[in-house]
Symmetry: C2
Subunit: 467 residues, 2 copies
């Protein structure tokens, strides 16, 4: 190992290799659920340096854990506790290499913080739509390695759909120069999408070319009260037909979610008497504020006439719009304040969601009377955060240790029966690795293992994550 | 071989296996550029039958050429002349299995003709936007295997972007049950996008779940005259900013293209005195005909004020709109009438197109004075059909045999220097296999070969196509 570290130091310099001292920031995920110990932390400053690191790892058979902003939720970007894994931090590679306005694209390095990518696009008068809670510290490389979702997926897609091309260092230290501003390119296998979402197990993404969009002229937000999830699904179909791609947000929150926020965060403005289901709609208009208002009012009036919506309010100004979003985004915080809970990041075909929720709510009530379901998420994407809290009076920690396994099985069995996913946007990492092995189509697993073996024959890329 | 054919016949029945008689329809592509000889033609009626065929091929080491509507342009779906390759026709698997209106998705088998997929969506009040000239005979499986493009890519993407999930039979005869109506699913490697565009070299797509969209309320078409490609690019940026995703078509045609159509097809209505560049714009409006007109008129007025457009006309009715599209779509026919030419299906970053065309036009004029460039295509996607015709008075056949290699080298060298693609939408197949090997990033080629070997270790899936 000392020969390996010496060779690394020679290549990267003192600034590029951390061995002694406090490596804690690199060894634990931000929620401190996975705390490990690194052999060292390599901090290359260029693609060539990353290639040199990977060549050395390959020669010396050292396992590598690529790391971006370390904001992931499934333990994929921190080392295990062996002290034998090298953390490869991309944090020094944070340049925006190019903004191409006429091509509506941007090329940035993997360590570039998401908010900086957004700012570079805005500086050129364009929109980079990827947006999520961690945007102040997560990085573009991490967003791509995990195929990040966020709040604008309905209109603009996940990180995958926003990517045009990649630069990747392979497990053997070769550089694939796949950066590209092309919208169309049918010259062989789709390597780009294979590396996207592979959680650092196939190679190291060092830079990417991403799509940009025109800035909308106006953005409007509304809350609508629905008496059932079926009504919310009907509202979604109507909104899609009326607003087309101007519909950029469609979030649902069940009664318990908003009641919890009211209880835990009473300082926030609440909608009057939360409905069975509250929908947050966002419209991004290419024309004008006036036009946006016209479309939104027409849509909501029709929805009320048809009985899909009981009541609705359009935010009258930016502050009120922000307060609507703030309600939605405060649910996880309210949950954290209320204590531990059992989280599920699931997706289903949109048409299957009302049936799933009815079935699960009943099954959970039968399994443990008084249990509370905090159910919210991106209905437009078929993605629910279906979280389960202890009944009143039961200690959350005891609840988790007694019931987490059984409740996960109930939820994931139902998701699987209905053709859903046990990880809609957070990935697999270490957290759901065993669930994946047990539940994924066996032929898919076999194909994934064959690909892993082909591209990382020594098994050194982020081992024991995902697969 | 006779044991293999007997086993096949036993499994598929007489209707499922063609050995004797006229197999010509399966042995040549529709343009008759690739004429081969098949060992036999298997026509399975179910996914299980496809799996059985593949298992037998694997056991007996028989090479397989999957075939859909056989409308490809690169020779990927017909057998070589060895008489040893089995054609696997998906033509009997043509069921639309499900239309899910609330989820805006549809599941159909690989042999389903594209027009039938479109009709099934329309029957449910929705739009399946993939559209191309061969839609009356090409199949969904072929569209996916080649990642087909077409006229609606600007707004809706290629076949890849329209696909949610796949059912695939592997080279060893296993079935990957990857059909899915999910918009979000981060559970492992993106196998879907790996099979899409792999031209039958990794496995056999047997069914797919595809995205559907709301039908637009109105569709408007316009022609705009621009005096340069720079102006056309400026018009594109303006149209995107004003119309957002309502902009569903943005095609360009150079002066020579329309002059050729006027010469070869004088019966068609021509725009008065074709401009240096004529742009065809299409707007699909989610609201109303009135709204669409307002947006279109405002956009074109601004473009004229800014000098990007010299003159413009909006189609006043459906018949006129069709005549505009018909002009654009008649260019290949006019070219065929005028005789052989050297075709290039290339893409570049949109911002790089004016420079590329100026450079190439000059280089070609210097190489062979009098040569004519028929340059048209999907400017919004950065995709040009940059075709080169013999100078007046020179026999096209002699022109091709003397100059095709040199002109391809001129064009592809310039494309490569500018980060473009030598096959934007048609694929590689046999036609561009050597160009790909010579021009693709060597690390990408190496990764592709590793994946091919991992998923098709015996090399039986459509051998010598693509790779």
């Amino acid at each position: 190992m000392s020969a390996f570290l010496d060779a690394l130091r020679e290549r990267l310099g003192e600034a590029g290799l951390l061995v002694d001292g406090d490596l804690a920031a690199f060894e634990a995920d931000w929620r401190k659920r996975y705390v490990g110990r690194a052999l060292a932390v390599a901090r290359p400053a260029s693609t060539e340096d990353v290639a040199a690191v990977m060549k050395l790892c390959h020669e010396h058979r050292v396992a590598v854990v690529p790391q971006g902003g370390n904001t992931g939720l499934v333990g994929a970007s921190t080392p295990d506790d062996s002290g034998q894994q090298l953390v490869l931090s991309l944090s020094r590679m944070k340049r925006v290499r190019e903004v191409d306005v006429s091509n509506a694209s941007l090329t940035a390095e993997a360590g570039c913080v998401l908010a900086d990518v957004q700012a570079a696009a805005a500086g050129a008068g364009l929109l980079f739509p990827l947006s999520l809670a961690a945007e102040g510290s997560c990085t573009l490389g991490g967003n791509l390695a995990t195929n990040a979702g966020g709040t604008q997926v309905l209109r603009y897609g996940n990180a995958r759909e926003l990517c045009l091309g990649l630069e990747v260092v392979t497990a053997t230290g070769d550089v694939w120069h796949g950066l590209s501003g092309l919208r169309k390119d049918n010259t062989g296998y789709d390597l780009r999408d294979l590396f996207i979402g592979s959680e650092g197990t196939l190679g190291v993404i060092t830079a990417a070319t991403m799509k940009l969009y025109p800035q909308p002229k106006d953005r409007l937000t509304a809350l609508a009260a629905c008496s059932s999830l079926d009504d919310a699904v009907a509202l979604l179909s109507l909104a899609r037909a009326r607003a087309g791609d101007a519909l950029t947000g469609f979030e649902v929150m069940n009664h318990s979610s908003l009641a919890l926020v009211a209880r835990e965060l009473p300082q926030l403005a609440q909608p009057p008497g939360p409905a069975a289901w509250t929908v947050l709609l966002e419209l991004s208009d290419a024309e004008s504020a006036e036009h946006a208002h016209g479309v939104f009012e027409g849509l909501l009036e029709t929805a009320v006439e048809r009985g899909a919506v009981q009541d609705a309010v359009i935010a009258q100004n930016l502050a009120q719009a922000r307060s609507f979003w703030h309600l939605r985004e405060s649910i996880p915080l309210a949950q954290a304040q209320a204590g531990l809970n059992i989280k599920h990041d699931i997706s289903l075909p949109v048409s299957g969601i009302p049936g799933f929720v009815a079935e699960m709510d009943a099954a959970l009530a039968a399994y443990l009377p008084g249990v509370e379901v905090i159910d919210f998420g991106h209905l437009g994407d078929g993605n629910l955060h279906y979280n389960v809290q202890a009944p009143a009076g039961i200690d959350p920690k005891a609840f988790l240790s007694a019931h987490e396994g059984a409740i996960n099985t109930l939820v994931y069995d139902a998701v699987q029966r209905r053709g859903g996913s046990i990880s809609a946007e957070h990935g697999i990492g270490r957290l759901k690795r065993e669930e994946l092995a047990a539940r994924k189509d066996p032929v898919a697993l076999q194909l994934m293992r064959q690909i892993k073996k082909a591209l990382d024959s020594q098994g050194l890329m982020n081992p024991n994550r995902l697969l």
